[in-house]
Amino acid sequence: MKKPNEGIFHSSPAALTGFSRRELLARSGTGLGMMGLASLLGDDSLLSTSQAADAVSPLAPKQPHFEGKAKHVIHIFCNGGPSHVDTFDNKPELTKHHGKPLPFSNLKTERKTGHCFGTPFSWKQYGESGIEVSELYAKTAAAHIDDMCIVRSMHADVPNHEPSLLLMNCGESTLIRPSVGSWISYGLGTENQNLPSFIAMSPGGYPIKGAQNWQSAFLPGIYQGTYIDSKHRDVEKLIANIRNSDIPLNQQRQQLNALKRLNEIHREQRGESPELDARIENYELAYRMQLEASDVFDVSDEPAHVVESYGTSDAARQMLIARRLVQRGVRYVQLWHGAGQPWDNHDDIEANHRRLAGQQDSAIAALMSDLKRLGLFDETLIIWGGEFGRTPVVELPTAGANQGKINGRDHNHWGFTVWLAGGGIRGGQTYGTTDPFGFRAEENPVHVHDLHATMLHLLGFDHKQLTYRYAGRDYRLTDVHGEVKQDWLA
């Protein structure tokens, strides 16, 4: 009773801070450098059990609980809350009642709402599955609908951005908990030690709640998402200190060579010392990272037709970068549409949603096609959605806010859509429904915790077993909730 399993997924800060040789080596995050380091130390046991050594490293690849279908995640986050009834959840009843009151009373959302607001967009059935999608995502649907699982019965807890963002990203609305990407980095490590494991891109600045959306909370800081302002084209602005403004690479190489010699002289006088070895190797790793990171964010080597197929918006360009990251083994890529909450269309929803989806549709279609072409689609889980959806009824104007405009929708946590595709997902299906007007999840409701449980399952984890001991108890992403949705699985 006193000692629960001390498996790898039961590690704790104490386990990370001990000073044992193996841990130190492992902690150096030197997946690729590991073999070299092991031979440097003349430690055969390390060589022969490098996999075991990897298993305790914070970012080296780790085995999940079982073989997961997905190895990477690309999460396309429409921050602000996209309207499900204008994108993936058509409601003819709503159109029929346009301008009239709902037959039931409006559910409570953030602001005052009024009568039914039929979708202004046209809809069409796509693919063999015949799933209906609005014109906003015509290209994505036309090319990939039979690989997409449209979950129309999502629901969350409250109609406000901040708690809903945290719930969607960290599984908890208020308290400080690690984000999904941090949990997955903790559980799986990453395949490319020269790049961060978890990257969050948002062109032009932070979304609401900022870095909290990709926080590692009580997990070690290395599992935190690395934020990248994808508006920039210059790699120096993308990753801190990735280039030296004063010393050209050839000189830096000489500098590092001399450094290495001095460090070796220093180490020889001190006997066995894994912490010194790890730091020697770390400079070499950093040197390689300069090259690799510059390369991955520089899309100029992509053929023109590829760049064109994604489109020119920042939101589109970062999808191309996302593909390059996944190609190089990055574990979790989150793509925020932009700073603040662009999808929060309390008014002018037709114009705004058309613009926003316009920046995405070609890029999502191109991204999925690319992944399929490269053979990465089956091991990459793609998720599209926001922190909640929007009301099927029109939002009434608030003085000083959207005054005089009665053409938008309020937040709606009662029912909304996300879709998943790729790694382990059975496509060409819809799951669950909202009521005939699209207000509340009705059939097969899916809570955000269920989404998280299923994501972890796809990556090879039992969400109840992926835990971390902190402040005296074992925490998990789904707390005491969550149910894996077997119907979504391929």
Binding site: Q224, Q251, L256, E275, R279, P397, G472
Partner: protein, 935 residues
């Protein structure tokens, strides 16, 4: 667990067969009425039996689980027995099934893990012979508190800190203090010799880095190395301990415990910076420098507001409570405080008991809410107390000048808007008055053509103010409003009746503008077109008001006395249309509010970022009435359970728990934590100090001394230091002195394979661990050795992580918990959202990239080489000069060769090279492991 279940199942199954075959199963004995037991017998049960039942049986045979349907938590339950009948035979005790299974003689063995001690079995046998003495009533019940008592009795951390006896050691020459003897005894037992003392350069560097976070100067090293006095080292330690940088170094360690940050976390509307978080940080630095006794340090941080303080700056210690993330929900803020205080000071994870009893430790959920009551009885005062007068505050005059400017902008906005609203409400009085008096619905509004303001533009507060003005402020005999006061509240179905009576009365009233008369304007308008509803009545009034207002706008307008009387209601001091600076707030809509918020934030930002603002302490104060806590079932404040007392923890007070008497009990809580008899507080502190000096904690979890924290190998060492603390009046510096002067600390850090083979983790301290500098110490050292460290102490935090030009010590970095600087994160800086037990030590390439490429580091090397000191050094002496400055030694000949090769092979500057060879070499010395690690 499953193993226990299985074996116990098979046990009962086979027991059943056994008994059947021998025909021993009798009908369950009639439940004997409980005999009266003597006090002596009951005492026997309490002392010898209950503890065994609680610790060995109840988990599988108690209230939660009943293997084989057996419970042993009451006398009746034991007599009733299990699926196979009674387990005791009161007539022939030796035949009791219970005794057979306890004996482990047969297949069936209980407890399954380990046989009870013979003494325990004998006690149970005797107890059965005594006919199972068991106290009647509540006293007899076995509850969770019984297992808590076991934990309190058995878990090492809850045992009193006793004097530590000196062990005998073979080598009597090595130990310099009792501490060393304790270490040596274990080393000798493991047949490991301690390492020799480190050389003097290593020692002085170790002392400087550990205590101050910066290296010594080459001169300081030289004079220590050359000092022939026998007490040279002691004097060095004393001297370094008294340097003011000590408080900065160890203050930062404490700020990890205190989850210090300069921002309150997420807030969409308000400025996120704390204006006075730095006063807490400065208090902590000063507390370490002045060696404020640790018990006072605890009291200051929990309850300085309730103490008589000699130095009012100590009030700022209370920042501990509120410098955490502000969740804007009292329950969450309070939880954060409970967690920080209990883990930080006592290594108890009390916050685990928020939703249910602690899963492992002796912390019932009731205790969580007892502490909840203490903290929820406190609040942040409307205005924080100053700890320095404006006169004492440097730069105050300039600060006040700037503040007046930004404050003026806000006042000007409010003044402007108040004037605009006043004019608007008068010009549009018809619209507001009809809505106030007539309360029209949506359709009615559409029917009133004269309305010109849309519903969405109406400021609702003006409408309600008109209502309250007419009903409450205006005199009952007012010549204009008296009629409305009577008629305006008439219900629709009575209106015709009441109106007729009112009209009759009206015709008889004298016209005039005195009380009791009727204003002729009203009488005329009313009688011309008597209203059929309250709405029509309100329109009559609204028209008169509007007409008068319009009249005044005409050139050379002269109001009649009747008009004057009406107009006074519109422009009088008490008129609802009169908007003042005090009430303008009520009329702001979302857009106005946003504009105003921007101005408020500007003021808040100014206050939080401009020096010269007289410092204030982030205190809490007692609420007028203490909060009486109840358990929130499953942590849900909407589900209120049993009331609990504000009192200290059962884990520490046991059955001596007493409700706190004074107010919310915060000071009493502090006294409980700081009490010499508290077995946790001192142990937790000395372990933290030790782990910073040795890079290794004495326990597995420095902030969780609960049941899952194994007894440390070095418990005696920990207790010895805990006693040093107490014997020296809680002096933290004395603990440092004790550690630093020990032979254990002075050992070399060089590896010794033969010792490592026996103790690979160095758990016995056969050498000093080599420690890597934390981010703060590394950065400060780079600044220091390049002559650029800015030693200014205290004051507002500043952005240091992004600045290559601000050279203050890293402890003065602005810490934004909402967006913690990436640099801090890659260097293992702890998450400031909750108490940090220990920083992880990771090695990731982003750390190397910072040192290789960041201007913060590059600039130091560049400027150092450009300094006149360096430039005036002869070429042949330069390498030696660099080594002395950066590493406090001369280069070896091999190192000179490396340098020569570097300079010989240096590729002449290309266009992009902005650093010459010396600058690059200085830079690379800052990158060395020798610079980063303390031997």
């Amino acid at each position: 667990m499953s193993r226990i279940r299985l074996s116990s199942f098979s046990f009962w199954l086979s027991a059943l067969c056994l008994f059947s075959s021998f025909g021993l199963v009798t009908a369950a004995q009639p439940p004997a009425s409980t005999p009266a037991f003597s006090a002596e017998q009951l005492d026997f049960f309490e002392t010898n039996v209950r503890p065994v039942l609680v610790s060995k049986c109840i988990e599988c045979h108690g209230p939660d689980t009943q293997e084989s349907e057996l419970r042993i938590d009451s006398r009746a339950a034991i007599i009733k027995g299990s699926t196979s009948g009674s387990i005791v035979d009161l007539k022939a005790p030796e035949k009791s099934l219970l005794l057979q299974v306890l004996s482990h003689q047969q297949d069936i063995q209980m407890p399954p893990d380990e046989k009870l001690a013979d003494k325990e079995i004998a006690a149970i046998k005797a107890w059965i012979e005594l006919q199972l003495p068991w106290p009647a009533g509540d006293q007899g019940k076995i509850t969770k508190y019984d297992s808590y008592d076991t934990m309190r009795r058995e878990h090492w951390a809850f045992q009193p800190i006793e004097p530590v006896p000196l062990p005998t050691v073979n080598d009597t020459s090595w130990a310099l203090s009792p501490l060393d003897s304790l270490v040596l005894a274990k080393l000798e037992a493991a047949e490991i010799k301690p390492s020799p003392e480190a050389d003097r350069r290593t020692l002085i560097r170790r002392v400087y880095f550990n205590l101050l976070g910066i290296p010594p100067t080459p001169q300081q090293v030289q004079s220590f190395v050359d000092n022939p006095e026998p007490d040279a080292y002691e004097r060095l330690v004393d001297q370094v301990l008294s340097a003011p940088q000590f408080g900065e170094r160890w203050g930062r360690h404490w700020l990890d415990v205190a989850r210090y940050s300069d921002t309150l976390g997420y807030n969409f509307q308000r400025e996120r910076r704390f204006p006075f978080s730095y006063t807490y940080r400065d208090y902590v630095v000063r507390a370490f420098n002045q060696d404020i006794p640790y018990d006072d340090f605890i009291r200051h941080q929990l309850a300085a507001d309730l103490m008589t303080l000699e130095d009012k700056r100590n009030l700022a210690g209370m920042g501990l409570l509120t410098v955490g993330r502000q969740y804007r929900r009292e329950q969450l803020d309070t939880d954060d405080r409970i967690d920080t205080v209990t883990r930080g000071f006592m290594g108890l994870t009390v916050a685990c008991a928020r939703c249910h009893d602690h899963k492992y430790d002796a912390i019932p959920t009731e205790d969580y809410y007892s502490l909840y009551g203490v903290f929820a009885s406190a609040r942040v005062p409307a205005e924080l107390p100053t700890i320095q007068t404006p006169e004492e505050t440097i730069g105050y005059a300039q600060f006040a000048e700037g503040l007046a400017v930004v404050q003026g902008e806000l006042d000007a906005y409010d003044t402007k808007r108040a004037g605009e609203f006043t004019e608007l409400f008068r010009d549009k009085v018809f619209d507001y008055f009809v809505r106030a008096a007539g309360r029209p619905d949506e359709t009615q509004i559409k029917s009133i053509e004269a309305l010109s303001v849309r519903d969405t533009d109406i400021r609702n507060a003006q409408v309600t103010q008109w209502q309250s003005y007419v009903l409450k402020t205006v005199a009952n005999d007012d010549p204009f409003f008296a009629l409305l006061k009577i008629l305006g509240t008439t219900e629709a179905d009575k209106f015709v009746e009441v109106e007729a009576a009112a009209r009759e009365k009206l015709t008889t009233l004298e016209e005039g503008i005195q009380g009791g008369q009727v204003n002729p304007l009203l009488k005329q308008a009313y009688l011309e077109n008597p209203p059929k509803s309250v709405l029509e009545l309100s329109i009559i009034y609204a028209n008169i008001l509007q007409d008068v207002r319009n009249e005044t706008k005409k050139l050379g307008a002269q109001l009649t006395p009747a008009q004057q009387q009406v107009y006074q209601h519109l422009i009088g001091e008490n008129s609802p249309t009169h908007v003042t600076l005090e009430n303008v707030n009520q009329f702001y809509n979302r857009a106005d509010g946003n504009t105003r918020n921007r101005l408020v934030r500007k003021i808040d930002l100014y206050k939080a970022s401009t020096p010269g603002n007289p410092p204030r302490a982030m205190v809490m104060e007692e609420k007028p009435n203490p909060y009486n806590p109840v358990v929130f079932i499953r942590g849900n404040s909407g589900r209120r359970g049993e009331p609990v007392k504000r009192q200290f923890l059962y884990a520490l007070d046991g059955d001596q728990q007493q409700p706190f008497k004074n107010g919310g009990g915060r000071l009493e809580l502090a006294e409980k934590i700081a009490h010499p008899d508290n077995p946790l507080t001192r142990r937790v502190l000395v372990n933290r100090i030790w782990s910073h000096h040795f890079g290794k904690s004495l326990v597995t979890s420095p902030s969780d001394f609960g049941i899952r924290c194994d007894k440390p190998i070095q418990l005696d060492l920990m207790d010895y230091l805990a006693n040093v603390l107490l014997e020296n009046d809680w002096s933290i510096k004395e603990v440092h002195r004790e550690i630093l002067l020990s032979a254990t600390f002075r050992q070399a850090s060089v590896d010794r394979p033969e010792a490592r083979a026996k103790d690979p983790e160095n758990a016995l301290f056969w050498r000093k661990n080599r420690q890597r500098l934390e981010y703060e110490a590394f950065r400060d050292s780079v600044m220091y050795v390049t002559n650029e460290l800015d030693f200014r102490m205290g004051g507002l935090s500043e952005d240091l992580t992004n600045s290559a030009t601000n050279h203050r010590r890293a402890i003065y970095s602005f810490i934004d918990r909402q967006d913690l600087a990436g640099l801090l994160r890659v260097f293992d800086f702890p998450n400031p959202d909750s108490h940090s037990a220990q920083r992880p030590v990771t090695t990731v390439p982003q750390q190397a990239l910072f040192i290789m490429n960041s201007p913060v580091i590059l600039e130091r090397a560049k400027r150092f080489v450009l300094s006149s000191e360096f430039q005036s050094t002869a070429e042949s002496e330069r390498l030696s000069y660099l080594y002395q400055r950066f590493l406090q030694r001369s280069p070896s000949s091999t190192e000179e060769e490396v340098a020569q090769q570097f300079f010989a092979g240096w590729i002449e500057s290309s266009e992009t090279s902005k650093m010459d060879a010396w600058q690059q070499y200085a830079h690379l010395l800052l990158m060395t492991n020798e610079f980063m690690f303390v031997d």
